[in-house]
Amino acid sequence: MVSRRAKNILIGKPGTSLANKTGGWRVFFPVVDKMKCVACGMCVMSCPEGCMQTTKETKTLVDLDYCKGCGICAKVCPKTAISMLKEEK
């Protein structure tokens, strides 16, 4: 038997941070122009939150649950396909 009190409650299980939706931090949010986007993946590689994904079919998608609106994606996009628009809250 394991005593509850001998159990370390400071142990984390994988994926638990996903409960923390950081999208609420945003002031600006990225909008992808699917006409311009060539799905090169530059923004995917450069996103600190890992919240972008891209395929030839879907082009670039942003997970706004986590996007903090830093604007890196817009800056690195070689086709200037991403623009940052102000959140209206």
């Binding site: 409650i9 984390g12 994988p14 996903l18 923390n20 950081t22 996103c47 919240c51 830093c70 800056k75």
Partner: protein, 294 residues
Amino acid sequence: MSTVKLFNAGHTACSGCGESLAARLVMEAAGPNVIVTNSTGCLEVFTTRSPQTAWGVPWVHSLFENSGALATGIVAALKAQGKENEARVMAFGGDGSTADIGFGIISGMWERGDDVLYVCFDNEAYMNTGIQRSGLTPFMGATSTSPAGSVTGGNQKQKKNLPMIAVAHGVKYVATASVGYQKDLQNKIKKALEIRGPKYIQILVTCPLGWGSDSSLTIQLGRLAVETGLYPLFEVEEGKITNTMNVAKPKPVEEYLKLQTRFRHISKKPEEIAKIQAIADANFKKYKKDSVLF
């Protein structure tokens, strides 16, 4: 998008944080069969506010200055259990824990030749505690303990040359990387993990808060540091430079400096900028491919 990855969203790094980006890139390159030790610092704090964790690999934090020794203990434990091929061990630290408070521990780990890839996320100051100077703060960089005063302006000391100190320890693979060059960074991580024995990779990670830069410029600054010569990217294997990132047309350091408020105090002092330019110029001469360093 909510599948569990090796480094997950929901962490609480600042918007545009270069360190969180680098950590994600490192984990994606390393794959799932690694165990990570992490010093106290931004990376530890913004990934593991209990009960949440951003990590999808076995990960452990103990103190500010002991991630290297923890890694040694884990390598030993794996060996004792006959599992040394089951997982590779990586130790993570910021520049403060690596160059300053934890350096003795790291030196011991290198001297023993432990099979650990040590990754230093170098944002050039103690950002977690509010931007104090570390041994890796660049010359002239203003921090809260090396302020731009009326008599002295910014950090008066040169950045400690940790990669060369690693080379002198006989570390088998030493490399620098930048958050500005993601593929290069990931290739170096992959290469390092192929090698048994001590490895050291120092990654320049932009800190919008500490550097006073726009959060969207994280990648640009990571590239400019390399393009100006202030943060040369190279690989040293068995004491010899086997690769240096070629910069065809070096950019003047001013282009890098002017985007950061930590260098604002010298923006109108060409004689000070010239001193930094001299560091960059010397770097280009110093880190040439095929040079035997040790």
